[in-house]
């Protein structure tokens, strides 16, 4: 059996991100840890030709020591297992969310099976390393529409600002693709991701697509934006006013959902939504 590879990983802990008044930014604390990589050989005692046995071992590995479990499962996946076993292994790696899984997840992000690529994306979202984010970004351009949409969903969950540019590229590619009032799955998911995780500027930019992109996809984006507690009221008000401005039944439906969701509350955006709902026939 080939020996495991070991590399040094920089662990960066950012301190003081919560509104420190100090003029001197605090330096990040850098620690080094040794990370063991999985091998491409079956873990000791695993017979990879017996799927049931491997599935049972994956189950045990997933509930034992996370680091060791991630290594064993990753090694098994890289050594080659049947696809339904790989699916279970990737699901487990997603649960374990250990950096030792990275090699296996990256490999399966490029697997020829759509179902395994999607599972690898879900597992990748839990790792949140720059390399993994780049790999997820790349799947926005996948040849399969389900994988593309899964990648956008994953990026919405990951909530990393570095992915916003890739999401915009995907959104704008799809914005003109037609497909009725809903748009493609990638459009819906990239719009939702931008609405949920984009900056104020991103939300304002989304508003410019009203009447230019399928409303169903934009509605998902704006609903996500309006639910964000940290988004300033003026931005939310602009969103509501813009939706009210198009005065379509779909716009009324969206605003009605907003009003119902916040029954009894009063903010500038909700008040404007109430007013618009009563006005739009």
């Amino acid at each position: 059996m080939r020996p495991s590879r070991t590399t040094l990983v920089l662990g960066v802990a950012l301190a003081g991100v919560t509104g420190s008044a100090s003029a001197q930014p605090r330096r990040p604390v850098v620690t080094t840890v040794a990370m063991v990589h999985p091998t491409a050989e079956a873990p000791p005692g695993w017979d990879l030709s017996r799927a049931d046995d491997v599935l049972a071992r994956i189950g045990r590995a997933a509930t034992g020591d996370p680091r060791r479990g991630a290594l064993e499962i990753s090694s098994a996946l890289l050594a080659g297992v049947e696809p339904h076993v790989a699916a279970a292994g990737l699901d487990s790696l997603g649960v374990l969310a250990r950096p030792e899984s990275a090699d296996a997840i990256l490999r399966f992000l490029d697997h020829r099976r759509v179902s395994l690529r999607r599972r690898a994306l879900i597992a990748a979202a839990r790792l949140h390393t720059p390399a993994m984010l780049r790999a997820i970004d790349a799947r926005l351009g996948d040849s399969d529409p389900e994988v593309r949409a899964e990648a956008a969903r994953t990026l919405a969950d990951v909530a990393d600002p570095t992915s916003v540019r890739a999401l915009w590229a995907a959104f704008e590619h799809e914005a003109g693709s037609g497909l009725g009032s809903e748009g493609t799955a990638l459009l819906q998911e990239s719009a939702r991701a931008l609405g949920a995780r984009g900056s104020e500027q991103d939300v304002d930019r989304l508003l410019t697509y009203l009447r230019r992109a399928p409303f169903g996809a934009l509605a998902r984006a704006f609903e996500a934006s309006l639910r964000r507690p940290e988004l300033p009221d003026p931005v939310k008000l602009r969103v509501v006013q813009a939706i009210a401005g198009i005065a379509t039944p779909q716009a009324r439906e969206l605003l009605t959902r907003l009003v119902d969701e916040h029954r009894g509350r009063s903010t500038p955006a909700i008040d404007a939504a109430r007013s618009a709902v009563s006005r739009i026939q």
């Binding site: 491409a40 050594a79 297992v81 696809p83 490029d110 179902s115 879900i122």
Partner: protein
């Protein structure tokens, strides 16, 4: 015999002369009339030589989009419309000096270039085959239903009022006529060229071809030419009646776009308006100034809708290609080059040496059919100076575009491009191959053209740097072809890119095996680990998987894709067995014992583990300076000995080509080629045959599977055979 041969024509001429006063000849075209001898034909040629040159105003008759609306006559010297004919045109018009002649309902009508009707004669229920003007007479030939419909009329009329000077109706098919002085040259029945007296219709002399076809006659300067599949110059030698005994130009048998014949069928009338026969044809003009039979510029221009290919008439070498912005409605060869008129009214003069436009003129009208009358010395003053273009650049343009009609021309351009040496041609081929929406047929032609090129591999490597990206709009590069080409060129710089495509899910599964084979042939040690990873990942990749959102497990790969994947894994196993180190070779034990691995994969692993791995050749490939392999630790595969080359495959397959072509008989659509992929082993057995277009799979596959290929060191390899379908 000789005295009789001399006397008989005189007797027949005397008989014919007896009817001269009636103006109607009953002796012409008689089957019993013998061919003329050399003396008589020399005298005819002398009369032609002495005749006054024909007057040919430089005009073009442009038929309206709806031929029922008539035509316009444009002076190409000034670009101005000089006349309009408001009559429903029923045949392709003929410009005959200062007349335009065409068939209308029930009559053949002549108009002046200003559009005024001059005269009309009955069409006698026949199409207008052709008309020829010389002096104050016009010769008309009616018929036009093909060489097998044997009824025709020759009528000679005065150009001024259309009064009939001679009329002959016969039960023969008549071809395109030519009038020179008092002689009317009329091809007939595909075999003969009779010379009639324009004054009375008597047959004066005759050429009978014993081994070729005669369909047209044409005057050029002081000579008359005739022929159909070849071009003959009328003279004393014509009396031999054989191609060998008569100076002639024999067109090269090159495969041209649309399989255009040397000349249009002279016995079949062209219709008014858009006639596809005019859009796909060859244009040329005899050069009477040269001895023997030669073409102006020694060039044949192959037309295909919008494209023009200029080919050396002697060697077939391509000189240049030109792509018109619109379909070409008419062309004419002149000494200054090729004049083209497109269906939007754009006229250009293309220089004969490089195809650059030297003169352009926007005509006031356009239409689907433009009939040009230009003397050979027509030479408008140059008014444009397009930048020079290389042959590669012009072929690149001709091979591109999205006009599906142009596929045969695109294929021709791509084939000619592939035949050109040099890096720019390679780059152009790669550029075509990486275009989005490229038709599978053209992709195969270009891809096969790339394999075997050794210069310009940088362009191939650059193309491999691209990976499919839906959002950025990047298509999958043609990895399979590039892999084969780069392996053949021993281009090791491609290894990392090929590995990267091996693991790219967007790479088509049928490209995986060529990638693996290429990696083996390139022999870079770094690829062994990648190939082992590939085997690990896919050796047991069969069966169904539950969707992410739950539900019944589904099989995500069809049988064809699974077969391609298995073939790639097999190839990787072969490679590992040859050059892998112990850890990689140990992997093969696991593969052959895996219960769900596809049988072909398990058998391959067993085969290479049980038996000795395929032996490395005694010598390294030429030019590869690598040292001989140390057992199992190096990657100097020496793969060429393990595969059959394209020539070996083609040689074996071609013997069955007639049977394969029989499969295409009665097919509603005949492809230009069949692409046959298959597996073969060292004993030359063929299996797993895949045929494109798939419509011919059932018929062709068993034929190909029965072919015995030459033996080789291959354990299991993939082969491709491109079967051209042109007869």
């Amino acid at each position: 015999m000789k005295p009789l041969a001399l006397v008989l024509p005189l007797v027949l001429a005397a008989l014919g002369g007896g009817c001269a006063n009636t103006g109607i000849s009953r002796g012409a075209f008689s089957l019993g009339t013998p061919a003329s001898d050399a003396v008589v034909l020399a005298a005819v040629a002398d009369r032609v030589r002495a005749a006054a040159p024909a007057v040919l105003p430089p005009v073009v008759a442009i038929v309206a989009d709806d031929p029922a609306q008539g035509l316009s006559i444009v002076d190409l010297g000034t670009g101005a419309v000089v006349g309009r004919v408001q009559a429903p045109i029923a045949s392709r018009p003929v410009v005959a000096g200062d007349l335009v002649v065409a068939r209308v309902a029930g009559a053949v009508v002549a108009w002046s270039l200003q559009g005024a009707e001059r005269w009309r004669v009955p069409d006698e229920g026949l199409d207008l085959v052709g008309a020829s003007r010389d002096g104050d007479r016009v010769a008309l030939v009616l018929g036009g239903a093909g060489v097998t419909r044997r009824r025709g009329v020759v009528r000679v009329v005065t150009a001024g009022d259309g009064s009939t000077l001679a009329r002959t109706e016969i039960a023969h098919a008549l071809g395109l006529p030519t009038l020179v002085g008092d002689d009317v040259f009329v091809p007939w029945d595909g075999q003969n060229l009779s010379v009639l007296d324009a004054r009375n219709g008597d047959e004066l002399s005759r050429v009978r071809s014993r081994d070729d076809v005669v369909g047209f006659s044409v005057r050029e300067g002081h000579a008359v030419y005739y022929g159909a599949r070849a071009l003959y110059r009328l003279g004393a030698e014509s009396a031999s009646g054989t191609a060998a005994g008569t100076p002639h130009y024999q067109p090269r048998p090159d495969e041209l776009p649309g399989a255009a014949a040397f000349a249009l069928d002279g016995y079949t009338s062209l219709r008014a308006g858009l006639d596809a026969r005019e859009r796909v044809r060859l244009a040329w003009r005899p050069d009477p100034a040269l001895p023997g039979v030669a073409l102006l510029h020694n060039t044949v221009f192959a037309l295909y809708h919008r494209d023009v290919f200029a080919l050396d008439a002697t060697t077939g070498a391509l000189r240049w290609a030109y792509v018109s912005p619109h379909d070409l409605a008419g062309v004419a060869v002149v000494r200054a080059g090729l004049v083209v008129v497109d269906d939007h009214g754009g006229a250009s003069l293309l220089a004969p040496d490089d195809g650059r436009a030297r003169w352009r003129q926007a005509l006031p009208v356009g239409g689907p059919q433009a009939v040009l009358q230009l003397a050979a010395d027509f030479a408008p003053a140059p008014n444009t100076d397009d930048p020079p273009r290389t042959l590669v650049e012009s072929l690149l343009e001709a091979a591109g575009g999205s006009d599906a009609r142009l596929l045969p021309a695109q294929r021709f351009a791509a084939q000619r491009l592939a035949a050109l040496p040099g890096a720019p041609a390679t780059a152009a081929l790669v550029s075509i191959l990486t275009r989005r929406g490229l038709s599978p047929e053209l992709r195969a032609v270009v891809g096969e053209g790339l394999v075997g090129r050794t210069d310009g591999t940088d362009a191939m490597i650059e193309a491999l740097d691209l990976h499919y990206d839906y959002v950025r709009g990047v298509d999958v590069p043609p990895v399979g072809f590039l892999a084969r080409a780069l392996a053949a060129a021993h281009e090791r710089r491609a290894v990392s890119s090929l590995v990267s495509h091996l693991f790219d899910p967007a790479t088509p599964t049928d490209d995986l095996a060529p990638i693996v084979v290429a990696l083996r042939e390139l022999g870079d040690p770094s690829s062994v680990h990648a190939l082992a990873d590939f085997v690990r990942l896919y050796h047991a990749d069969v069966g169904a998987v539950a969707p992410v959102g739950g539900g019944d497990a589904i099989i995500e790969r069809d049988i064809t894709d699974q077969g391609h994947l298995n073939a790639a894994v097999e190839q990787a196993i072969e490679t590992i067995a040859r050059v892998g180190a112990a850890p990689e070779r140990a992997l093969l034990d696991r593969v052959r014992a895996h219960p769900v691995a596809p049988e072909t994969v398990r058998v391959a692993a067993s085969r290479v583990r049980d038996g000795a791995p395929p032996e490395a050749p005694a010598e390294a490939p030429p030019g590869d300076g690598a040292a001989p392999a140390a057992a199992g630790t190096d990657m100097t595969f020496g793969a060429p000995a393990g595969r059959l080359g394209p020539d070996a495959i083609d040689g074996a397959m071609s013997a069955r080509r007639p049977e394969v072509l029989a499969c295409l008989r009665d097919a509603p659509s005949r492809p230009a080629q069949l692409r046959v992929q298959f597996r073969y082993d060292g004993d030359g057995r063929v299996s797993n045959v895949s045929v494109m277009p798939a419509a011919f799979q059932a018929c062709v596959a068993p034929i190909v599977a029965a072919v015995q290929l030459p033996t080789s060191l291959a354990v299991r390899e993939l082969g491709t055979w491109i079967c051209p379908t042109a007869y």
